[in-house]
């Protein structure tokens, strides 16, 4: 792309880099005289310390999330060239310990459209900035249920499914498979605790029993390898139909499979998992998105990438259909009945008008294949079966959307 722009490091604003990733208008000057509608999309990543895990087998890609946004941008650009719509993306990474709000303000002065990769409390602080009034912010990273509940914000949409959507998806599978008696092992990280809380809620919602729970405490006296500890650790759980792991940081979970005292399926964060996206999804045209992504980034597409992709494509779809770059026009369209995002999940994706969550099917997978896609057949809903996943209108205590 032409017109690349680099800004030198500026410690005062706490940003590592601001980079214009793509500037389109000029590239297609031969075809269109000038771009009438131009959308700038900011991608803000707030770096967080990554907790140590037992295995280093699966490094987290450096460009996780951002790569998805770039693939989404590519789609927007191709469509935009037929309509005289142009898109640019600029990226800011806030290193650990720096103030993300300064970077956010800086970005909001350039564009009201931001895709955010940050923990829940940072997302809320950004959404509450006076500069963010009337902005369209997309949460592509935080699955906390609270953000779709009491901590919701009118200007903060969620392209990543909540923990509740994923745990409801698994609970539907448990019901269908008649795994009615569950046990759970949870890690101690906040993500683990939040996942476990959500799982307890889902099991209750679908009338399943959680007969026992244990906490995996990394500081406990574990003197042998995990694979030797786990049979003993799980022996006290007695018999059950399936074991749930709440190990969202992927610390101990991988060692639990095939090492449990009872020969029972392992689900949750490992084994049979409910995910936003996975390389094993190939139906509904997904194979095309997978290969497009892989061609562009030389790796597989993750859930995090998908959420960022969906956020950028949401904006693209709204611009395509409204011919506008006005945030109010785009927001109104995104929450209207006319909006639908083709998200390679077999159904149109839409936004819940009570908490800004992107409605979407949830794939239940193991590392080699998709096992099911929730909502499962038979889980009915009075308006939209997809609302059997996550906080439904009467359940959500979100008031900002009323």
């Amino acid at each position: 792309m032409s017109n690349n722009e680099a800004k030198p490091d500026d410690p005062n604003i706490g940003t590592k880099m601001i980079r214009i990733l793509a500037l389109i208008g000029a590239c297609f000057a031969g075809q269109v005289a000038s771009a009438e509608t131009a959308l700038k999309i900011g991608y803000l990543r707030v770096d967080m310390p990554v907790p140590p895990t037992l295995s280093n087998l699966d490094p987290i890609p450096e460009n996780i999330g951002l790569a998805g946004a770039q693939t989404g941008l590519q789609g927007n650009l191709t469509t935009g060239k037929f309509l005289s719509h142009s898109y640019e993306m600029f990226e800011t990474v806030v290193p650990e310990g720096n103030d993300p709000l300064i970077a956010a303000k800086e970005m909001l002065s350039i564009s009201p459209y931001l895709v955010l990769d940050a923990p829940a409390q940072v997302l809320v602080s950004i959404a509450d900035l006076p500069e963010a009034k009337g902005a369209l912010l997309f949460n592509s990273s935080a699955s906390d249920v609270s953000l779709r509940d009491t901590d919701c914000r009118r200007n903060l949409l969620h392209s990543l499914p909540s923990d509740a959507m994923r745990t409801d998806a698994l609970a539907q599978v448990f019901v269908q498979k008649r795994w009615r008696d569950l046990v759970m092992i949870s890690g101690n990280f906040s993500q683990d605790i939040s996942y476990a809380t959500s799982m307890r809620r889902s099991l209750k919602k679908f009338g399943l029993k959680l007969s026992d729970e244990k906490t995996w405490d990394a500081s406990a006296d574990m003197r042998r390898t995990a694979s030797q500890e786990i049979p003993l650790f799980t022996q006290s759980l007695g018999d059950y139909d399936a074991m749930i792991l709440a190990d969202e940081v992927h610390d101990f979970g991988r060692y639990v499979l095939y090492n449990t005292w009872q020969a029972r399926p392992v689900t949750g964060s490992e084994g049979l998992s409910a995910v936003t996206w996975s390389p094993v999804i190939e139906q509904w045209g997904a194979a095309q998105l997978q290969s497009r992504f892989e061609k562009q980034h030389s790796r597989k597409m993750t859930s995090h990438d998908y959420a960022a992709w969906a956020a950028v494509r949401t904006l693209g779809e709204a611009v395509t259909r409204t011919n506008s770059d006005d945030p109010k026009v785009l927001r109104d369209y995104i929450f209207s009945d006319a909006f639908e995002l083709a998200g390679f999940k077999g159904r149109p994706l839409t936004y819940r008008d009570w908490n800004g969550q992107l409605r979407q099917p949830i794939a239940v997978v193991h590392p080699r294949a998709m096992v099911a896609q929730a909502p499962l057949e038979g889980f009915l809903h009075q308006t939209n079966e997809l609302d059997s996943l996550g906080l439904d209108r009467p359940e959500s205590k979100c008031e900002a959307y009323q």
Partner: protein
């Protein structure tokens, strides 16, 4: 004796005229299944390249063209022997194509590359590559051969190609995930199906403007699962039979009033279809159930389902 011979020959000719075959590509078996339209049985299975999808015959039915998507080739097969004669250059990931009325030029949608490739089937050379939207798929050409259409699934457009200059002259938005396009009524109309949008858009060819939009409603099936994909017109273009994907139904649309008159239950995840010679029977490919449903067009009833290979996708008739 001479008399007897010639009348016998006439009888033989008569049967071979009314009889015919439906050729079906099996996306996940890398084969085509050949169904006899008289006996309604699979009479042949031929191997193809990887992931065969689009299929069409040359005008004289002496060659069959097959999009072998994952082999990145359009394969040319001798339908009498099932032998692959040669591959045409097709660009990457060819999914669907249409043969120009000149019987020479193939317009191919290259799904991974956002390109429509035009290939001369005689010289076996690429004549043109045209930039279109993301994930091109649906392909159509007007009966006079002047306009070719590519629909792009992710850009949600029908791209109108001037076949003389091989350039786009119009791009029209349709609902989400357009999958299939057909000209109707002597080319005065162009229809596009939108899988995720759940609609069919009817364009006036002369002005490229929308004339009608058709939507579907099946009792007991959520509208999200009613996903129009392939469709074909009955004799005289009075009705369109529309495959509705995972709703497992074919809709019968009145092409004058644009009203849906009937829904016919077929196999699971119905993709595409082909008529028999006299258009009295319709054969639909059902991806998930791995079979082909035979529909009696007059009574609008499903007669039989025929087991074929895994994930049948495209269908084409051969006399």
């Amino acid at each position: 004796m001479k008399m007897f011979l010639s009348s016998g020959l006439a009888a033989l000719l008569a049967t071979s005229l009314s009889a015919g075959q439906i050729w079906v590509t099996n996306e996940k078996d890398d084969t085509v299944s050949v169904i006899d339209t008289e006996t309604l049985e699979v009479v042949q299975t031929y191997e193809t390249g990887e992931r065969p999808r689009g299929i069409t015959f040359s005008k004289d039915y002496s060659r069959v063209y097959i999009c072998a998507s994952d082999s990145d080739a359009v394969q040319v097969m001798d339908p009498n022997t099932g032998k692959i004669l040669y591959d045409l250059p097709s660009g990457e990931d060819p999914e669907q194509f249409v043969l120009h009325p000149d019987d020479i030029h193939l317009y191919i949608a290259n799904e991974d590359d956002a390109i429509t490739t035009v290939v001369n089937t005689q010289t076996r050379k690429v004549v043109a590559q045209i930039d279109v939207g993301v994930e091109p798929e649906g392909m159509a050409v007007s009966p006079d051969g002047k306009i070719a259409i590519t629909t792009s699934e992710t850009t949600n457009m029908a791209h109108w190609i001037n076949t003389e200059t091989q350039e786009l002259f119009a791009n029209t938005l349709v609902d989400s995930r357009p999958r299939h396009a057909e000209f109707a009524k002597d080319g005065t109309q162009m229809w596009v199906s939108s899988e995720i949008g759940g609609t069919l858009t009817v364009f006036d060819t002369a002005t490229q403007t929308e004339q009608a939009k058709i939507s579907f409603e099946i009792q007991g099936v959520h509208s999200d699962r009613v996903q129009p994909v392939g469709f074909e017109f009955t004799d005289g273009d009075t009705h369109a039979f529309v495959a509705l994907g995972p709703s497992n139904h074919i809709a019968v649309v009145n092409a004058q009033t644009y009203e849906v008159e009937d829904y016919i239950l077929v196999g699971r995840r119905v993709w595409h279809m082909a008529f028999s010679a006299d258009k009295s029977q319709l054969f639909t490919t059902n991806g998930v159930s791995g079979d082909v449903t035979v529909i009696d067009v007059a009574s609008r009833k499903a007669l039989k389902s025929i087991k074929v290979g895994r994930f049948p996708w495209g269908a084409a008739f051969r006399p």
